[in-house]
Symmetry: C2
Subunit: 425 residues, 2 copies
């Protein structure tokens, strides 16, 4: 079993307002679980090997609650459009190529290599509607050592011919097959039910997906209230629904039966927020994407004050970087513009809060993940911040802050552990 000690400068969140920083500390991994952080090695662990990471930052692995694997290939392209236009012009034509397993292999090879090199240990991933290439993606993600939920996407309306399933029935049959194929196949990779978003899914499809979620106890991910044009379209498509969230909720796809994560939540109304709170729905806050496709700025302060479940998402390729360090900085910056331009009662986020979202906040979607408290799964990264020279002395907390602002650089990542296994470095 995986038992060892890391000696270094340890940072982790116990809570959104409780960022802990311990210089020269010993972080114990016992059988893949965290046994705590100590200033000296406790007697009962004295026999364990010590990995010397003195002077380096040791923190939980990053959690990405929302990323589109097939969009990685065109990240940083076509960012001159709003969401719906961008989907039709760039995202859908590219995703349509993934019926071809050779193309999918080439693209997913690039994507999974980037995941391996990144600081991310946990991900919620959208594939495409193609079962074959999504299962290929899962094979490749399993090889990265990271833990992921991966969805074959469902789309049976309002999509171009080459990226639309034949019928709700065909989509559901394919999804059931996908679940049965993959549910027990991997150690770290799990299927997740993934209606693309309400505009792409008929009621019949939504209904069937809700039943599959319940039948197989499979989680759910989708998009919610991202962009004014999209929200308005959902209102037109579903006049009977109380709001966008209700279009999932009425079919059991909103945390009612199984854990659910919804990306964006920029324009959620009071009722939608109340239902998310009640159902324990996770929010994947994706600030870069919200800027890039001109969606807006999410009311993150409100979600934090309400103790909602919230983490960060890179949302590649609405976002152009897979780095959750970058997502932390984007979240800080957008929260300051939100305060300045939208609501001066909404206090900007601070470093402790975005670090919490990037680790423990999003991590709890995966169980006891994202912290170094006793009993947490042992996900950790080691960062060499000597690559960021400075003339003045800095506290560990300052070093962490600086590493977040300047740490998108994968060169600085020296080691990555997931569930106690060294998976990179």
């Amino acid at each position: 079993m995986n038992s060892f000690i890391i000696h270094g400068d340890v940072c982790y969140s116990a809570d959104k307002n409780d960022l802990r920083t311990l210089e020269n500390a010993y972080l114990i991994c016992e059988n893949g679980l965290c046994a705590g952080v100590f200033s000296q090695i406790p007697e009962q662990y004295a026999h364990l090997p010590v990995h010397d990471c003195s002077g380096r930052l040791v923190m939980p692995g990053m959690v990405d609650l929302h990323i589109h694997a097939p969009q990685y290939a065109y990240r940083g392209l076509g960012m001159d459009r709003e969401l719906l236009d961008w989907l039709n012009t760039y995202a859908f034509p590219e995703e349509a190529k993934y019926w071809d397993l050779t193309y999918a292999y080439r693209a997913y090879h690039i994507f999974t290599k980037a995941v391996k090199k990144s600081a991310t240990t946990r991900l919620c991933v959208f594939g495409t509607l193609h079962r074959g290439s999504t299962e290929l993606l899962m094979d490749m993600l399993e090889d990265t050592g990271a833990v992921s939920f991966v969805g074959k996407v469902n789309m049976d309306r309002n999509s171009p011919d080459e990226l639309r399933e034949e019928s709700a029935e065909a989509s559901l049959a394919d999804t059931e097959r996908f679940i049965l194929d993959t549910k027990e196949l991997y150690k770290n990779t799990h299927p997740i039910i993934t209606p693309r978003f309400t505009p792409s899914c008929t009621d019949e499809l939504m209904q069937g997906l809700g039943e599959l979620a319940k039948k197989y106890d499979v989680r759910v991910q989708s998009h919610l209230s991202e962009n004014p044009g999209e929200v308005e379209w959902v209102r037109e498509l579903c006049p009977q629904a109380k709001n966008y969230g209700d279009t999932y909720d009425r079919f059991g796809l909103f945390g009612n039966h199984t854990q659910t994560v919804m990306a964006h939540c920029v324009y959620s109304d009071d009722d939608e927020i109340a239902r998310m709170k009640e159902n324990g729905v996770y929010i994947a806050h994706c600030p870069a994407s919200n800027m890039n496709v001109a969606s807006g700025a999410a009311p993150v302060r409100r979600y934090l004050d309400m103790d909602m479940h919230i983490g960060l998402g890179s949302d590649v390729a609405g976002g152009h970087s897979e780095s959750i360090f970058t997502a932390m900085v984007d979240a800080l910056q957008v929260s300051r513009l939100y305060w300045r331009l939208v609501d001066q009662h909404s206090k900007p986020l601070n470093v402790a809060e975005v670090f919490y979202m990037a680790t423990k906040g999003g991590g709890s979607f995966f169980g006891k993940v994202g912290s170094f408290e006793k009993g947490y799964e042992f996900d950790a990264i080691v960062i060499d911040d000597s690559l960021l020279p400075h003339p003045q002395p800095l506290s560990l907390r300052e070093r962490l802050e600086r590493a977040i602002y300047l740490g998108g650089d994968v060169k600085a990542l020296k080691a990555k552990y997931c569930r106690g296994a060294l998976i990179s470095g």
Copy 2:
């Protein structure tokens, strides 16, 4: 003399709406000046050596119109405050240390090393109020091969004791000495008159600085209308002035006598903008800083539509990165939030526009700089974008767009030329 040919995939701006991309092209440098871009080598240049950069991106060097050298040491720190509070808590105490030449050397060593590794070939730099360490900084900047204007900062009021000059008279005498010391000393490094901002400078000091600018034909840089609290403070300090810009203008520090660059211009009113236009004042747009210290979002679309002089500034350490690639992305993103949250008549910026600002827009402050048109000074960078793998074919324009979004990475920078000399790579 420096005469040679670069063969590669060439991108440059002829105008803000005229982004030119030429695959497999020959870019000619003749005696340090650009002789044009050709699809085949013209007969008269057939004797020149060819640098083979096939398959690589070749573009003008980046121009940073606003950066604080002494703040580089604490970039990415203390970004939880608004401008005035941030200055007092972080910036001023740090800058006060630069009376010590040893400290200054250590910090400026880190800064100038970063400048050398960056894609930037031209910079407008703030030092501190200390003449000695600012002259040291100029020596070190000269060694980078980049061309810069560097200012000894003037501050004679509203600053802590350890970062305030004794009197306007002393400040002016020191500044005159600084100008005389450095005006003819370097090939690439020039003094620039640098009142920190109106709150830090008495009228007497401003008056004297305006006279020095005229007497020695030295340019001017400062801050303008960055943050609501700052603008309000200037209004209180200078009740007789029509607006913030007027506090410089009345003393000949607003493009009246010599070229002037003003950072930020987030809250400039109509009259201020009209005077900037009339006087040809340059705007250094610093989007990361405007987010980080919660200043807001500048009306860049308006400035572009009015054909104002405008370029980009990293504003380290209000901005946390010295990369002008990052500044381009930040400018795109902030313009989208400005459109969404402030004014839906203000069309978001596009890639051609931010690339123009990063090169030719800011470059014109330095003369014929920032383009590959005939007669321009030969500043160029070579970028290996094969480090950004992709499964699909991409046009050169798409490759440029992607390099901008993903190109903060200095690893990709393979060569940097300034005035025809290879200065890095």
